[in-house]
């Protein structure tokens, strides 16, 4: 099925200013103002594609629709500010050391896109590939690390199982002695993994999409989706109605509610995922460290703050208020791993909402409603998939055919009993 371009409008394309060291010097000398990163538009009465959700998934989808397929009459509707949902709350870990061949191929494509993103978007997203280490504290965890390493290597992704001595060399502050409650038996080391400036990814995609003429509408909430004859007709927002044949649900935390507006029920449960950051100290931790048994992960930003995360909350909710149990638990587990850090202080905690599916894999593709597409169910692994999700969803929407990379993530798999293999994995997934 192709796409009926019903609403031919004058293009909103423009060429954005080029960012570079030279441009910094020029602007510094002249004092001239920088052009806007994206513009505000009035809502058009209709668009060819409406994307619900202005985070990295929605913005990347919009960007690739325009850049790869020339589909520019696109609106991204964000009820808050761009990147204010999961994209602004995650701990920005990028990796592709997944368990299944499908997972590895998918996330590796994303890592590849991330590696050239700054140049592609002309916006420094600060992708710091300092390595990702998943600790194993039991032989069953070590077996799972070995499983992941072997699948990774077979797909050309650099991962290897390392022993406690190598773990100690990678992260000198870790207590790798046998005196701990859960001694470290080894780990999975993934050199290409790392961290990124998550806001910059959002802004980079937004700026580039805007340059292609995509309309970014902040403060715009979808309150209804019009379906007639089993197909999308339009959406209703707090700022007015839009006619459109295509709606892509790129929300996280709200995906069930948005899908319900189109009459589609999902196998999703929403749970908060909390994170915290400490005051800055001199950089000492180069690698991202994850412990599956202790359900905690730690990284250090270039500014020197330690960023912590853990598993999702033990019960579903839509609250991003955070809990004391989370910071207590994370502190306990971080000190189990690195006992010398007790004097570091937590500066702030926050939470995002994670849409968990039965098989720890997203839901991408068509639905029983014609023109209603899903890019949801991103659990705790959504940010790292932003680029590849955008690229593949754009391809699906523009061409009508489902890219191989996402064929296994279809909604129909649950009714047909075809779970994705990532459910086999043990570790806390980030």
């Amino acid at each position: 099925m192709g796409m009926a371009l019903r609403y031919r409008q004058r293009s909103s394309r423009r060429r954005p200013a080029r960012y570079s060291a030279m441009s910094l010097v020029r602007h510094g000398l002249s004092g001239a103002a920088w052009p806007r990163v994206w513009r505000h538009h009035e809502l058009r009465p209709g668009y060819d594609v409406v994307i619900v959700g202005g985070g990295v998934h929605g913005l990347a989808t919009a960007y690739y629709l325009a850049a790869n397929h020339g589909t520019t009459n696109v609106a991204v509707l964000e009820r808050g500010y761009l990147g204010g949902g999961g994209s602004g709350r995650n701990t920005a870990i990028i990796r592709s050391n997944y368990l299944t061949p499908e997972g590895v191929r998918f996330y590796d494509r994303s890592v590849h896109l991330y590696s050239t993103l700054a140049a592609d978007l002309n916006f420094n997203v600060m992708f710091s590939r300092r390595g990702h280490l998943t600790l194993a504290h039991s032989d069953s965890a070590l077996r799972t690390m070995r499983w992941r390493a072997e699948v990774n290597k077979l797909h050309g992704v650099d991962s290897e199982v390392v022993d406690p001595a190598e773990v100690a060399a990678l992260a000198p502050r870790l207590d790798t002695s046998a005196n701990t409650r859960y001694p470290i038996l080894g780990g999975l080391y993934h050199p290409p993994g790392g961290i990124i400036r998550h806001d910059a990814v959002v802004w980079g995609y937004a700026r580039a999409a805007d340059a292609h003429g995509v309309h970014l509408h902040q403060g715009t909430e979808v309150v209804g989706i019009d379906v007639a004859g089993g197909a999308i007709r339009g959406v209703r927002t707090n700022r007015g109605s839009i006619a459109t044949p295509v709606v892509v649900n790129c929300t996280a935390g709200w995906s069930s509610l948005v899908s319900e507006l189109a009459g589609v029920r999902l196998p999703i449960t929403t749970l908060p995922l909390q994170a915290a950051v400490t005051e800055p100290v001199r950089p000492f931790l180069d690698t991202v460290v994850v412990s599956g048994t202790l359900h905690v992960y730690v990284s250090q930003t270039d500014r020197g703050e330690l960023v912590f995360g853990a598993a999702v909350d033990p019960y579903p909710s839509y609250s991003t208020r955070g809990s004391l149990e989370f910071t207590e638990g994370v502190a306990t587990n971080v000190l189990e791993l690195m006992p010398s850090l007790a004097s570091l202080r937590v500066l702030r905690q926050w939470a995002g909402l994670c849409d968990m599916t039965p098989d720890y894999s997203p839901i991408m593709g068509r639905t029983p409603v014609d023109g209603f597409y899903l890019d949801v169910g991103w659990g705790t692994y959504g940010f790292k998939a932003g680029p590849v999700a955008g690229e593949t969803m754009a391809e699906l929407v523009a061409t009508g055919s489902t890219p191989d990379l996402i064929a296994g993530f279809d909604l129909a798999r649950f009714a047909e009993g075809r779970m994705v293999g990532e459910r086999g994995a043990a570790a806390v997934g980030h």
Partner: protein, 85 residues
């Protein structure tokens, strides 16, 4: 740390309990199609609002309990014992 009003033990901290999903009727496995069975297994209302859900007071009375909880504010407005002794 929210308090859950266990009908057997009174209000107790959440860390004494474990959450066991939205409450739903288990269909008759013999009379159901695969699609219907899997709807029971996987589909969720996942509302941002009042939800009836099953919890187990593992560190207390050991009973499964149904609470009506608001998933945005975390208020609990009702608690019911499940059947059985």
């Amino acid at each position: 740390m929210i308090l859950l009003p266990c009908p057997h033990c009174g209000p107790r901290n959440t860390d004494e309990f474990s959450h066991h999903g939205e409450h739903g009727e288990r269909p008759d496995a013999d009379r159901v199609t695969a699609r219907q069975w899997r709807s029971y297994l996987y589909l969720r209302r996942n509302q941002a609002g009042w939800t009836t859900e099953l919890w187990l007071h593992g560190a207390g009375c050991g009973r499964y309990v149904l609470f009506e909880r608001h998933t945005v504010t975390n208020e609990v407005r009702a608690a019911h014992s499940t059947g059985g002794r």
